[in-house]
Structures are given as C-alpha cells and as structure tokens.
C-alpha cells in the first residue's frame, strides 16, 4: 500500500508556464487537500475536496485550480506560474467518516521552483 504519492518530486519551471502537480491516494479517503509550505509560514491550505466531484477554496487559492474527477486523484494546476509560487507542495487525504478523527495523511511533497 503506497498511501499518497505525488509527482513530480521536484520541478524547475519558467514563469508563465502551466504546471500540474499530481496526487494519488489508494486509501479510498473521501477528503483530499493541497498545502504549500514556505519557510517561516508553516503549511497553508490552497484547495480541498470533501468528496469526489466537489472542491473548495482554502486560505491561499489564488493562482491555483483543482479538480476531483474521482476518489483517488486530486491534481493541482498552476495556470501561469509566478515566482511567488516557489514552494513545497503537499497533498493530503483524510477519511473522518471511517477513522473517527480528522487525521490527515500527507504525501512526500513536490518542490517547485518558478524562475
């Protein structure tokens, strides 16, 4: 069981380019999340999805979009990357309906550099 996988592991991207970060979970969790982590700012929620077919905005959604076509996948797209989007991106999932808690399981992260 892999848990949560993210791809790519790291990426250097020219400003203005479009980029999709991939996230897949095999735990059949209903909820999935995208965070960015910047030094000194902790983890901040970008977008989330409580169940397949629904998405919502988090704390810092501008410049990002997500989709949730099925339970397992939750891609994050940067339509036109800017240097301020340089960060480490973490995908997470949870299934409070099953576990009875709000524990979120995190992927290994994608390190993105926008030049």
């Amino acid at each position: 069981i892999a848990g949560i996988t993210q791809a790519p592991t790291s990426q250097i991207l020219a400003a203005g380019r479009r980029m999709t970060l991939r996230c897949t979970q095999d735990m059949r969790h209903n909820a999935m999340y995208w965070y960015r982590q910047d030094l000194g700012l902790g983890l901040r929620l970008i977008h989330y999805s409580n169940t397949a077919g629904t998405t919502g905005k988090g704390e810092v959604p501008d410049g990002y979009s997500v989709s949730r076509a099925n339970t397992d996948d939750f891609p994050l797209t940067l339509a036109s990357a800017v240097p301020s989007q340089t960060s480490v991106y973490f995908c997470a999932s949870s299934d409070s309906a099953t576990s009875g808690s709000d524990e979120q399981f995190f992927g290994p992260g994608t390190r993105l550099t926008v030049l």
């Binding site: 949560i4 909820a31 999340y33 000194g40 700012l41 902790g42 983890l43 901040r44 929620l45 989330y48 409580n50 988090g58 973490f90 997470a92 949870s94 409070s96 808690s101 709000d102 524990e103 979120q104 399981f105 995190f106 992927g107 290994p108 992260g109």
Partner: protein
C-alpha cells in the same frame, strides 16, 4: 482570523532529556487538536491527537496536555532521541481543514 501558534521557533535538548513543545490557540470553539512531526524532506506525520473533553493523552514516549482555560496545549517527549529531531506542528481541524501553527524545530544534541 483564528490562528494556532507556537511559542518558540527552535528548541535544543540533550539526548535523553525530556522535551516540551508549546502551542497556543485562539479559537475557543476548537475541540480537537493534532500534533504532527515533520522530518527534513518529508511530509508531516501524525503523532498524537487530543479532544477537548480530555486534559491529557499519552502515547509512546509522548504526552499531550490541553489547558482549555488559557487555550494552550503542549507536547512532551520523554527521553528525547536523535530520531526525534524534526519540526513539530500543532494543528486545529476547523471544519475538516487543518490550521497549522508555524512549527518548532527540535534539535537533539548527542
């Protein structure tokens, strides 16, 4: 807005000593908290959680204390080991969305 914060950005302890990491929260309605550990280059990993109907919860070498009166919680690590070196976050799930503190970096000196 509501926030979760940590008192110290870094903590250095001697191997074998106990570590205490503190966290303050502002949302009086918060009723559930989670501590995460993040090792360098990895994603956060669940350590322990506590609900507001408890003052204390113990795990393996870790204890979380919750003081609802002053809106403060702490993570205590007994007999700190080099493998405990990491950044520790307290998090407050608000409507299923985690609000993270900034983190405390724990360094363990041999």
């Amino acid at each position: 807005g509501e926030s979760v914060g940590l008192h110290l950005p870094t903590l250095s302890v001697q191997e074998g000593d106990n570590s205490i990491i503190n966290c303050a929260y502002s949302n009086s309605a918060s009723d559930y908290f989670i501590w995460y550990k993040q090792e360098s280059g990895k994603g956060p990993q669940f350590i322990i959680d506590i609900r507001s109907n408890m003052d204390k919860r113990q795990g393996q070498r870790v204890t979380v204390l919750l003081n609802k009166t002053v809106k403060h919680l702490s993570l205590q690590i007994a007999a700190t080991q080099p493998g405990d070196s990491a950044v520790y976050f307290c998090a407050d799930p608000q409507g299923g969305k985690l609000i993270f503190g900034q983190g405390t970096e724990l360094s363990v000196k041999p």
